[in-house]
């Protein structure tokens, strides 16, 4: 079955992974800017990273017939450094016209600090100013519930934010409801140990239905599984769910969400 992975960090994966994903049905992906596993030294490192995301990765993906899209920001972890964050935010507009950029992301919180919140709000300002879609990272483990509520407070406190153009990622059982009932899109991340299994994701689809709900692998440099979406497809099939329901979650929904971005060419991914 054709599918789209709306959140995967291909800069950390090999070309062999691209090939495996293509064989498993991945036709498109979106790669939010994130933490490299170590703090970068200066704004110039981000400039190179954004060039990698907008120039190099789309070419690497294209070799396997995969469309590569991206989102730009300074991640929540490095946002603790406010002055560096402001330099990065000031540089982002020059990359927004790159053909594969869908918006600002993955912005969010990590340890739910004041500095992270300040930079989150400045990213929102950037997104509003340039009419960009937003992709959001919610924190891990014990910080997730608190951080997700804080993020929703900031989003809903700004009447200029169009909720149907915002994807809140890494939702789990205790955060999904608030995200969906307030009109945002929600992404479930299938990630070993710290996030959600394909079985629990299938449970949430059964409980909340497929409206505004997506799944992603968030494959990156840590222990993660870039082929996690095919695992979810298998689990839903095993439970007897229809092809239409599965396709809605893993293909139609990301396509519909992306299509609200000016750089997304709907015809490139057949409906």
């Amino acid at each position: 079955m054709d599918y789209i992975d709306p959140h995967i960090h291909m800069v950390s994966r090999t070309t062999d992974d691209y090939e495996t994903l293509a064989r498993m049905g991945c036709v498109a992906m979106s790669e939010p800017a994130f933490w490299a596993g170590f703090d970068r030294g200066s704004v110039e490192s981000f400039r190179d990273y954004f060039r990698q995301l907008t120039e190099f990765e789309p070419k690497r993906a294209a070799q396997f017939g995969i469309r590569h899209f991206t989102w730009l920001c300074i991640n929540a972890k490095e946002a603790e450094n406010v002055s560096l964050s402001r330099e990065v935010i000031a540089m982002i507009p020059m990359f927004l016209s790159a053909k594969n950029v869908l918006g600002i992301g993955e912005i969010g919180l990590n340890k739910n600090t004041k500095n992270e919140s300040t930079i989150f709000l400045e990213h929102l300002e950037l997104a509003v100013q340039y009419d960009q879609q937003i992709l959001i990272h919610t924190p891990h483990l014990e910080d997730k519930f608190q951080g997700t509520r804080m993020i929703l407070d900031m989003l809903m406190g700004d009447s200029r934010i169009n909720r149907s153009r915002v994807l809140v990622d890494h939702v789990e059982e205790h955060t999904i409801e608030a995200v969906l009932e307030n009109g945002f899109w929600a992404g479930m991340t299938l990630y070993p140990v710290t996030k959600c299994t394909p079985q629990r994701a299938a449970d949430m689809i059964e409980k909340y239905g497929p409206e505004r709900l997506m799944a992603n692998s968030a494959g990156d440099w840590g222990p993660s599984k870039p082929t996690a979406i095919p695992d979810l497809i298998m689990e839903l099939k095993r439970r007897g769910h229809s092809r239409e329901l599965i396709r809605r979650v893993v293909y139609d929904n990301p396509r519909q969400f992306f299509s609200q971005s000016k750089n997304f060419d709907l015809a490139a991914l057949p409906g």
Binding site: N112, K114, S117, T118, L121, L141, E142, D143, K144, F145, Q146, R149, M150, D153, G157, E172, E173, H174, R200, D203, I205, E206, G209, P210, R238, R239, G240, H241, S242, R243, E244, L245, R248
Partner: protein, 90 residues
């Protein structure tokens, strides 16, 4: 065909039959983890993480449902609706 996930409702018997072995194996993993803690030197009886695990196990055994969400909330830091004031962001 329908995109309604409730169009296909597995019976409780079917879910149990399909999931019994995996649930059994997870209970054994937990049991062996507790045994391992018991065999190790020192004591963690009063450690905060140990308290969380034992409260989590109680949620599994009580009469209420929505267990996954309740375990998640148990393992979560509290949310303060006035956080923006505390941070001076308002």
């Amino acid at each position: 065909m329908s995109i309604d996930p409730n169009a296909v409702k597995r019976t409780a018997e079917k879910v149990l039959a399909e999931e019994f072995l995996s649930a059994r194996s997870k209970i054994l993993d937990l049991a062996a983890t507790l045994d391992r803690l018991e065999r190790a030197s020192g004591s963690v009886e009063n450690a905060a993480q140990m308290q969380l695990l034992s409260q989590g196990l109680k949620i599994l055994c009580d009469d209420e449902f929505d267990k996954a969400r309740r375990v998640q909330l148990l393992m979560s830091r509290q949310y303060d609706p006035d956080w923006q004031k505390t941070y001076g962001l308002h």
